[in-house]
């Protein structure tokens, strides 16, 4: 199962669909890998192994990523798991009862959540070293930072635990850990993906929490973006669908660039 440590989510899903791999063995491999790297890299805040095993046993549904193991960043609620926000204040949080539409979209895509990934406190810092927990280390060189704030997500993907993982970005928190860990990190426009914030966070006067993933391949980020795009009344931007290559220039398109 070593190839699962580098295969992207699209390829993994295709092999599950074709019967070449069983979702149970893919998820079991991810759990085994998570357990193997956790003591050194500290990528998980909480695990969802029992539910993941049950889900991988089927029925898998017809989502494009059916059977692919996944992680949710611990700044967002996922039903059945506590949300600790990287903070000691929330160390005793109860499992969430509800989750936002973005999480429903990940479930509908067939992704199998195996746990929640680490973040610095409330995602405020670009490195993942909360005071109350061991630091999340970089799989390429454990003496270095994974970056942050989606540090657990990036370290887990780079370490071969899961092929793709939920991540969020307000000031670099997808892009920085993706760069530190040698991954692809796309920060979509805010509101591009289905609503993710709940409670007081959803009512903040300015929202700059961009939601997406860190991944091993551009096509995974593109396909998952299409899968989780806000549609209809939820959509703040016209949906773009699956992007598979450079688009022809729209008539009114004009771009500027600078390097200073």
């Amino acid at each position: 199962m070593d190839e699962l440590t580098w295969m992207d989510a699209t390829e993994t899903a295709a092999r599950v669909r074709s019967g070449e791999l069983f979702a149970t063995e893919v998820v079991e491999a991810a759990i085994g890998r998570a357990e193997a790297v956790q003591p050194q890299l500290h990528v998980l805040v909480s695990d969802d192994f029992a539910r993941a095993r049950a889900k991988s046993a089927g029925p898998l549904g017809d989502g494009p990523f059916a059977g692919v193991p996944f992680l949710i960043k611990d700044l967002d609620d996922y039903a059945g798991l506590p949300t600790r926000h990287g903070s000691r204040v929330h160390a005793d949080a109860e499992p969430s009862i509800n989750q936002a539409p973005l999480m429903d979209a990940y479930d509908a895509a067939g992704l199998v959540v195996i746990g929640k990934s680490t973040s610095p406190e409330q995602g405020y810092l670009p490195t993942t070293e909360p005071v109350g927990a061991p630091p999340t280390r970089n799989p390429w060189d454990p003496s270095r930072s994974s970056g942050g704030s989606s540090g657990g997500a990036a370290a887990a993907v780079a370490a071969g635990v899961v092929p793709v993982a939920h991540a969020t970005d307000g000031g670099g928190s997808i892009r920085i850990p993706a760069a530190c860990c040698g991954l692809f990190g796309l920060k979509p426009s805010v509101g591009r993906t289905r609503p993710a914030l709940r409670g007081r966070r959803a009512n903040a006067p300015i929202i700059i929490a961009h939601q997406h993933v860190v991944s091993r391949s551009v096509r995974d980020s593109a396909a998952l973006l299409a899968e989780t795009e806000a549609q209809g009344e939820e959509a703040r931007h016209a949906p773009v669908g699956v992007v598979t290559g450079p688009a022809a220039a729209p008539a009114a398109d004009r771009s500027g660039w600078w390097t200073r």
Binding site: E121, Q122, G256
Partner: protein, 93 residues
């Protein structure tokens, strides 16, 4: 954004992307960062700190008392207190 020069690799990547877009028919031109980078940095810092202040207030409500520095990290506490010093849209750092 604040006047620093990027590394040569970054310059090459940006120029390469601009050239590719131009080749694909996009209208691409050199320009300047359209906002005051230093001001943007201050505004972003103010916004970021206000999130910590809201978290601090929520934690206070949840605990029935202000969280201590054994519960909230020094960086978050510093940002929350920075926001508390903000009055009428002006910073008094």
């Amino acid at each position: 954004m604040t006047g620093g020069r990027p590394d040569p690799e970054v310059v090459a990547a940006v120029e390469g992307a601009a050239a590719l877009l131009a080749e694909l028919g996009h209208q691409v031109e050199p320009t300047r960062w359209p906002v005051d980078g230093m001001q943007f940095g201050r505004d972003f810092g103010a916004y970021w700190a206000s999130g910590a202040a809201a978290d601090f207030a929520a934690a206070t409500e949840r605990l029935g008392r202000a969280p201590t520095d054994a519960e909230v990290e020094p960086f978050s506490l510093a940002m929350a207190s920075r926001t508390a010093r903000c009055r009428r849209g002006r910073w008094r750092p």
